[in-house]
C-alpha cells in the first residue's frame, strides 16, 4: 500500500547532518525521534500547531457570507437545544430476578485470558450480565492484580462486530446440525482406517480437560495425528531446555530475588509467560528511597529495541545472530565450557563481557540470565548452564514440568502436516483456532494445500484466511463466552467461566471436541467440571471446592512444584555452525498485534507500539547507520527480498537497532481480518520460510521510489524539549538526592487565590523508574472511559483520542541512545490554564481538586486544549464514537458518557470510580480508605508505576511517593501546580562499564 508522499510523508531527515549537529551540541538532550533531532518542518508543525493540518476539513472553504449565515443559524438554534424532550423509555424488569444481580452494581467474575495457551488470571466486570472491563486478578500468580494490553483489549475482541456469526459451508450459510451430520459421515469413513487420514490442528494447549478430550479422540482414532502450531511459538525455549536437561521443562523466574539480570534478546518484562508478574517483581527491586538504597541492575543484549532494553542500565545492541557468540563468550568467562563461534569476538567489547561476568559472579545466586524466545535453542541451553554455574538454580530460577499439555516442536509439527497433505495422506483436517493459512511458514504452501483436503473444518472467531480455504467454518466462542481451563506460567490452573452466553452461538474448543467424541449435546460446563471431578477424587466436598475455584480464579495448590533437573555436560562444546553471510533479517511478533490474532482489534491497532510509537502499521526497522549507508529514510517503501520472495515494506529508522540487520514485524498484511485489520501493514510472513523462523541472513534491500505514509505518534503532543524526563544514575542520586528538584521554585507567586482543600484532595504519582512503557494502561483507560478509535488517517494528523499517552524519549547517541518512557495523563493542575480560557465553563475545578470536563457544556472552542501546556486534551473532530454498531453498545462502560462530535475530553482521574467509592464510604459513615480508589491505569499497571490517592492524607501511598526527593512536576516553571507528579528515573550502571564508555 505504498502511496505518493503528500503531507503524511515524513520530510527528509538527513542522518549525516544530524550527526554533525549532534557533535556540535546543537541537539536537545532528550529527543523523541529523528524528526525532532533534525527539527524538520513536519516536527515543527506538530510542535507549534496543536493540530498541524488544521481543525477543519482542509477541503472545506467558508466565505464571509457563509460564515455569517452559519453564525446566525447557530445563535438561533442554540436556544432550542434545551427544548429536546426526552423520548419515552421503557423499563423491563426481570420475570424472576437472578440471585446477586442488582441493577447499577457491577459484579466481578474470575476467569482467565490466554495468549499462546498461557493464562493470565483476570476479574471481569459485568454490568447486568454484560462484560465491560477486564481487570487483573490479585489472587492469580501470573497477574497479581495487573494485566497486559492484550488482556485489557480482549473485551473488544468479544464485541468485535466482524466476528463470524454463522456456520459457513463452501461459501454458503450452513448450520451446526448439518455440520455434525457431515462430520459424523467423515469420521465414520475415517474409522475404517483407524483415522490414518485424520488430522487435528490446534494451538498450544495448556487445558487439561481439553487435552483429555483430544486424547479420548485419538484413542478412538489411533492413527490420527494431533498437530499444534503457533507462528509465534516457544519452540526454541523448549528445545533449549531439551538440550540442557534432556527433557522439556518450564523455567520460572523469581525476579524478586535477583540483583543482576542479563537478557539475551529477551523482552521478559512485557512479553511471554509470567511477564506481568516479572515486571512487578523487577520494579519492586528498583524502588529507591533514601541515600542508602540499592537497586537491581539489568543488562540487555539485543538486536531489536524492546521495552526490556529500554529499562536496562546497560544495553548492548548486537545483531540477533551474534548473540549466540556473545552467550558463548560470556559462558567461558563465567566458567562454562563453550566452543567459540565464528567471529566469536562479535561486536561486544571483551571488557564489556568481562565486566558483566564479574558483576554476575559477584551476585552468584542472586543473578539471572534470560534468553529470548526468538534466540536459537543453544542460547537457551547456554543461559541454563550459566545460571547453574552461578548457583542460580532454585534461587532465582526453578524448573517445573511443562505447562503445555503436549510440548512438541510446533514448527516441525506444522512441517510434518504440510508434508502429509502434500503426499495425499490427509483426508480430513480439523483446525481449532489459529490461522495457519495466514501464518504458517510460507514455503510449506499451506494455502495451496488446504483446499486439497477432502474434508476440512475450521473453528474460528473470524471467517478469515484459513476459513475460506476450508469446507466448513464454525464460529468460535470467545474465551469470555466459554468454559475451559488453562495454566499460568507456573502451572497454576484457572477454570475459565463464561461471562455471557455466546453472542453468535459460537462453539468453544470443548464443544467442538465433544462433537468429535460423539457428545455434541453435552454442555462444555459439564465436560470441564466432570473432568476436574474425576481428577480431584480425594476432595471430600467437590461442590465447595469447585465454587471456590471459580470464585478465586485459581485452583488451589496447582502450581507445579520445583523439579530437580540435571544439566547435561558439554552443552556449548559443539562448535556452532558457520554463520551464514549477508544482511540479517529478524522476525518478531508485533508488540500490539502479536502474530496477527489481534489485527481486527482497534484498540490494539491504535495503541502506539512502545518503542516506535507507530500505529496501524508494521515496518522494516533498521539502524540509522544502515539507513545512512543505503540512503534510506523512514517511510521509504523498500523492497525486501529474502529466500526468493519479495515484499514491499515501509522502512523505519530506529535509533538503538543493531547495524546491518533488519527487523520485520509479523501479524500485519492480513487479507481477511475484518474491517479494522484487513489491508493494514505488510505481511512479513510472506518472506518467512520454514528454515529460518526468526533470524535469517542474506536479505536484499532495494529502494523503491515510493513512500509509505505511517501514523506515528512520537512527535505528537510535544512539550518541546523541556526538562521533562529527569534521569540520574544511582551514584549521582546518592551524591545529590535532590537532583530532580533542582529547579523547584520556592514560594511561587500566583495571581490566583490560594484554595484550601478540606476533606479529599486527589493526586497521582507516576514512578518513571517502574514504568516499562508496555501500554497496558492506555488500553485499560480506553476500555474504562469509552474512548473512541479514530483510524490511521486521523492519527496521522494528530487526532488520536487516548487520555493517557506514553511519551518515549531518547537520550544521547543517535545510534545507541538511552530510552525512557513517560506516561502523561491530565495533570489536574491547581492553577489550570485550560479553565480560565473556557468561555462556557465547561472545564472547572472541583472542591476535591479535580479538573473537571463537562461534555454537555462544551461547545468545542478548543481554547482549553490550545492553552494546555501538557497537551493532554483530546477533541472529537468527527463522530469518532461508534453510535451505530449494536454489538459495540454492550461493551461500553455505563458509568461514563459516550462523547459525540465537537466535544473536548481528557483524563478525569476516573471520576466515576472516585464517586462510586465515595458513595459507599459515605453510606458507611466513614472516609475513603487509602488504596480504595484505583484508577483504571493504575489497576492495569504490571509494575505498579501509577499511584493514586488523597494527598491531604500524609499517610497515603501517594503522599509518601510525592514526599520523596525524586518527586518532580512537569513544567514546574509555569506554576500550574500539577496534581500528577513524577518520580525521576534512576539508572544503576556498572561503574566499570560506564567508565570505559566515558573514555
Amino acid at each position: 500500500m505504498a502511496t505518493e508522499n503528500k503531507n503524511g510523508g515524513r520530510p527528509d531527515v538527513d542522518i549525516a547532518t544530524l550527526r554533525h549537529s549532534a557533535r556540535e551540541g546543537n541537539t536537545p538532550r532528550f529527543w523523541r525521534g529523528l524528526d525532532e533531532l533534525a527539527g524538520t518542518p513536519e516536527f515543527r508543525d506538530h510542535a507549534e500547531n496543536e493540530f498541524p493540518h488544521g481543525a477543519n476539513d482542509p477541503n472545506a472553504t467558508l466565505d464571509r457570507r457563509e460564515l455569517l449565515k452559519v453564525m446566525a443559524a447557530s445563535a438561533a438554534f442554540a436556544g432550542l437545544t434545551g427544548c429536546t424532550k426526552l423520548p419515552t423509555q421503557t423499563i423491563v424488569p426481570y420475570v424472576r430476578e437472578p440471585e446477586q444481580i442488582i441493577p447499577g452494581k457491577p459484579l466481578f467474575y474470575a476467569t482467565a485470558v490466554t495468549l499462546g495457551g498461557v493464562a493470565t488470571g483476570v476479574l471481569v466486570e459485568s454490568h447486568m450480565s454484560r462484560p465491560t472491563k477486564v481487570e487483573g486478578n490479585p489472587d492469580h500468580p501470573g497477574s497479581l492484580g495487573a494485566s497486559d494490553s492484550f488482556a485489557q483489549a480482549s473485551i473488544l475482541g468479544l464485541y468485535d462486530p466482524d466476528r463470524s456469526r454463522a456456520e459457513v459451508h463452501d461459501g454458503r450459510i450452513g448450520s451446526w446440525p448439518e455440520f455434525q451430520t457431515e462430520l459424523t459421515a467423515a469420521l465414520a469413513a475415517a474409522k475404517i482406517t483407524g483415522g490414518s487420514g485424520l488430522r487435528l490442528l490446534t494451538q498450544t494447549i495448556t487445558s487439561a480437560s481439553l487435552a483429555a478430550q483430544i486424547r479420548k479422540f485419538l484413542k478412538a482414532f489411533p492413527s490420527a495425528k494431533w498437530h499444534q502450531y503457533e507462528s509465534v511459538g516457544r519452540d526454541n525455549v523448549r528445545e533449549g531446555a531439551r538440550i540442557a536437561f534432556g527433557e522439556y521443562v518450564n523455567a520460572v523466574y523469581r525476579l524478586n530475588r535477583v540483583e543482576v539480570v542479563l537478557t539475551l534478546d529477551s523482552d521478559f518484562l512485557t512479553s511471554g509467560p509470567g511477564s506481568v508478574r516479572y515486571a512487578r517483581e523487577f520494579a519492586a527491586k528498583r524502588r529507591v528511597d533514601g541515600a542508602e538504597s540499592i537497586m537491581n541492575r539489568l543488562y540487555a543484549v539485543e538486536c531489536t529495541p524492546t521495552n526490556t532494553g529500554a529499562m536496562a542500565d546497560h544495553r548492548l545492541r548486537m545483531r540477533a545472530s551474534e548473540i549466540e557468540s556473545f552467550a558463548r563468550a560470556l559462558a567461558r568467562e563465567i566458567g562454562v565450557s563453550a566452543a567459540a563461534g565464528p567471529g566469536s569476538s562479535s561486536s561486544a567489547p571483551a571488557e564489556w563481557i568481562a565486566a558483566v561476568a564479574r558483576d554476575l559472579k559477584q551476585h552468584a545466586g542472586a543473578s539471572l540470565i534470560v534468553a529470548g524466545d526468538q534466540q536459537p535453542p543453544v542460547v537457551h541451553a547456554l543461559a541454563h548452564a550459566i545460571n547453574q554455574k552461578l548457583g542460580n538454580f532454585d534461587k532465582t530460577v526453578y524448573f517445573t514440568q511443562p505447562i503445555e499439555e503436549s510440548p512438541i516442536h510446533q514448527w516441525e509439527s506444522m512441517g510434518e502436516l504440510a508434508a502429509d497433505i502434500r503426499a495425499g495422506k490427509v483426508t480430513t483436517i480439523l483446525i481449532l483456532g489459529g490461522n495457519p493459512a495466514y501464518d504458517a511458514p510460507v514455503d510449506l504452501g499451506l494455502r495451496e494445500l488446504l483446499p486439497k483436503v477432502k474434508f476440512s473444518a475450521r473453528l474460528g472467531m473470524h471467517e478469515d484466511e484459513t476459513s475460506v480455504l476450508c469446507h466448513w467454518h464454525i464460529p468460535q466462542a470467545h474465551s469470555l463466552e466459554s468454559w475451559g481451563d488453562a495454566r499460568a506460567y507456573d502451572g497454576t490452573i484457572t477454570v475459565m467461566q463464561p461471562l455471557i452466553a455466546p453472542l453468535y452461538e459460537g462453539k468453544s474448543e470443548h464443544d467442538f471436541l465433544a462433537a468429535l467424541n460423539g457428545q455434541a449435546e453435552k454442555p462444555s460446563h459439564d465436560i470441564v467440571r466432570e473432568f476436574w471431578l474425576a481428577q480431584k477424587t480425594g476432595i471430600p466436598r467437590f461442590d465447595a471446592f469447585w465454587e471456590k475455584t471459580l470464585r478465586d480464579g485459581v485452583m488451589a495448590g496447582t502450581a507445579f512444584p520445583a523439579k530437580q533437573v540435571s544439566l547435561k555436560l558439554g552443552i556449548g562444546e559443539q562448535p556452532p555452525a558457520a554463520r551464514p553471510q549477508g544482511l540479517e533479517i529478524v522476525f518478531r511478533p508485533d508488540p500490539t498485534i502479536w502474530d496477527g490474532r489481534f489485527a481486527n482489534n482497534g484498540w490494539l491497532q491504535e495503541l502506539p507500539k512502545p518503542l516506535t510509537k507507530l500505529t496501524w502499521d508494521n515496518v522494516a526497522m533498521l539502524s540509522p547507520k544502515m539507513a545512512q549507508r543505503l540512503g534510506l529514510k523512514s517511510e521509504d517503501a523498500i523492497e525486501l527480498k529474502y529466500e526468493g520472495r519479495t515484499i514491499v515494506a515501509p522502512a523505519w529508522v530506529m535509533p538503538g537497532h543493531a547495524d546491518e540487520s533488519v527487523t520485520v514485524f509479523l501479524g500485519y498484511g492480513r487479507t481477511r481480518a475484518g474491517n479494522v485489520g484487513s489491508s493494514a501493514g505488510f505481511d512479513a510472513g510472506w518472506i518467512r520460510p520454514y528454515a529460518t523462523p526468526w533470524i535469517g541472513a542474506g536479505l536484499e534491500i532495494r529502494k523503491t521510489h515510493q513512500k509509505w505514509a505511517l501514523a506515528a505518534t512520537q512527535t505528537h503532543n510535544s512539550m518541546e524539549g523541556r526538562d521533562l524526563v529527569r534521569v540520574a544514575t544511582l551514584d549521582e542520586y546518592h551524591k545529590n538526592p535532590k537532583f530532580a528538584q533542582a529547579d523547584v521554585v520556592k514560594n511561587p507567586l500566583s495571581l490566583y487565590p490560594e484554595v484550601k482543600y478540606e476533606g479529599y484532595s486527589w493526586g497521582m504519582a507516576v514512578d518513571l523508574n517502574a514504568c516499562t512503557g508496555c501500554g497496558s494502561c492506555v488500553v485499560a483507560c480506553q476500555a474504562e472511559n469509552n474512548i473512541a478509535v479514530v483510524g490511521k488517517k486521523e492519527v496521522m494528523i494528530g487526532r488520536e483520542m487516548h487520555w493517557i499517552r506514553i511519551d518515549r524519549y531518547f537520550e544521547g547517541d543517535l545510534d545507541d541512545p538511552k530510552t525512557y518512557h513517560e506516561p502523561v495523563v491530565c495533570m489536574h493542575c491547581e492553577d489550570a490554564p485550560c479553565e480560565v480560557v473556557c468561555p462556557v465553563m465547561a472545564t472547572v475545578h472541583s472542591p476535591e481538586g479535580l479538573n473537571e470536563m463537562i461534555y454537555n457544556r462544551c461547545v468545542g472552542t478548543r481554547y482549553c486544549s490550545n492553552n494546555c501546556p501538557y497537551k493532554v486534551r483530546r477533541f472529537n473532530f468527527r463522530l469518532y464514537s461508534d453510535w451505530d454498531t449494536p454489538s459495540l453498545f454492550g461493551m461500553r462502560n455505563p458509568n461514563v458518557s459516550v462523547r459525540s462530535r465537537g466535544v473536548m475530553e481528557k483524563c478525569s482521574y476516573c471520576v466515576q470510580r472516585i464517586n462510586a467509592v465515595k458513595i459507599e464510604a459515605e453510606k458507611q459513615d466513614r472516609s475513603v480508605r487509602d488504596g480504595e480508589i484505583v484508577t483504571a491505569c493504575q489497576q492495569s499497571c504490571p509494575s505498579e508505576a501509577i499511584v493514586f490517592g488523597n494527598i491531604n492524607d500524609p499517610n497515603s501511598r501517594v503522599s509518601k511517593m510525592k514526599a520523596k526527593n525524586l518527586n518532580y512536576s512537569l513544567l514546574e516553571e509555569l506554576n500550574t501546580r500539577p496534581r500528577t507528579t513524577y518520580q525521576a528515573r534512576l539508572r544503576n550502571p556498572n561503574p566499570e562499564i560506564e567508565k570505559a564508555a566515558a573514555v
Binding site: 426526552l86 424488569p93 442488582i102 473537571e852 458518557s897 466515576q912
Partner: protein, 216 residues
C-alpha cells in the same frame, strides 16, 4: 434630489426594529413556557402502563413499604423495578382471577417481562444515585411526590438541573430523619430549617454542586 424614502418608512423602520426585539423576547418567553410545560417535562402526566398499577392502593391503602418492590434503592444507583415474581408473591394468592392482572400472570407464565413505561427519567449524561440520597435523609416523596395518592403514577417534578440544585444548594429545606425516608405520608415539620440544619450535621450532608457529582 427627491427623497428616496417616503415618510412612512420611518414608521416601518421603528415598528420592525422594536417588533424584532419584542418578537425575540416573545420567542424566548415561549421557549421558556414550552420548556416548563408538562408537554415537555411530563410533570403531572399520568402515563399509561401495561397494567394499571396503583401506588395509591398499594402504598396509600395497603401500606406497602417502598422497598418491598424497589428493593435496591438503599444499595444501588438504581432503585430497582420489581420482577414479575414480586407481584406474584401476593397475586398468586389474591385477585388470582382479576382480568386487570392478566398481563402479570401471562408474564410469569411465559417468562416474558412486562415493559413498563418509564415515568421518572434523567438524560443519559446525568448519573443519579438513589442509595446515597436515601442514606442522607432525602425522602422518596421529596422527589416522587405524593405517591400514596397516585392511582396511575405521574412525574411530580421536572427533574431539571435547576430543580436538583434547589436542594443541592440548600439541603436543609428538604432533609428528613432517616427513619422517615420511606414514609409516604410524611409532612415537613414547622421547624424544618432547624431540623434540616441539625440533620445536615448529623448525616454529614455536603452541598455537592460541582459538575462531576452528576456529569462524567
Amino acid at each position: 434630489m427627491a427623497q428616496i424614502f417616503h415618510h412612512s418608512t420611518n414608521t416601518i423602520a421603528r415598528v420592525s426594529i422594536y417588533g424584532a426585539v419584542l418578537l425575540l423576547l416573545l420567542l424566548g418567553y415561549t421557549v421558556d413556557v414550552v420548556n416548563n410545560s408538562s408537554y415537555v417535562t411530563e410533570v403531572h402526566n399520568a402515563r399509561p402502563q401495561p397494567v394499571p398499577f396503583s401506588h395509591k392502593h398499594h402504598v396509600g391503602e395497603l401500606g406497602l413499604d417502598c422497598r418491598y418492590c424497589h428493593a435496591s434503592v438503599e444499595v444501588s444507583s438504581s432503585a430497582g423495578m420489581p420482577p414479575t415474581q414480586t407481584c406474584m408473591t401476593c397475586h398468586s394468592q389474591i385477585w388470582t382471577g382479576a382480568a386487570m392482572l392478566e398481563p402479570v400472570r401471562a408474564s410469569y407464565r411465559d417468562s416474558v417481562p412486562i415493559s413498563w413505561t418509564r415515568v421518572n427519567a434523567v438524560p443519559d449524561f446525568v448519573y443519579f444515585n438513589h442509595s446515597i440520597h436515601v442514606a442522607k435523609g432525602v425522602g422518596c416523596t421529596t422527589c416522587h411526590g405524593p405517591i400514596a395518592e397516585m392511582n396511575i403514577t405521574w412525574r411530580q417534578e421536572s427533574l431539571y438541573m435547576r430543580w436538583c440544585l434547589e436542594c443541592h444548594n440548600a439541603p436543609e429545606n428538604y432533609l428528613r430523619p432517616r427513619s422517615e425516608v420511606f414514609n409516604s405520608f410524611y409532612r415537613a415539620p414547622k421547624n424544618q430549617q432547624e431540623l434540616g440544619l441539625r440533620l445536615m450535621k448529623e448525616y454529614k450532608v455536603q452541598k455537592l454542586t460541582n459538575c462531576t457529582t452528576c456529569h462524567r
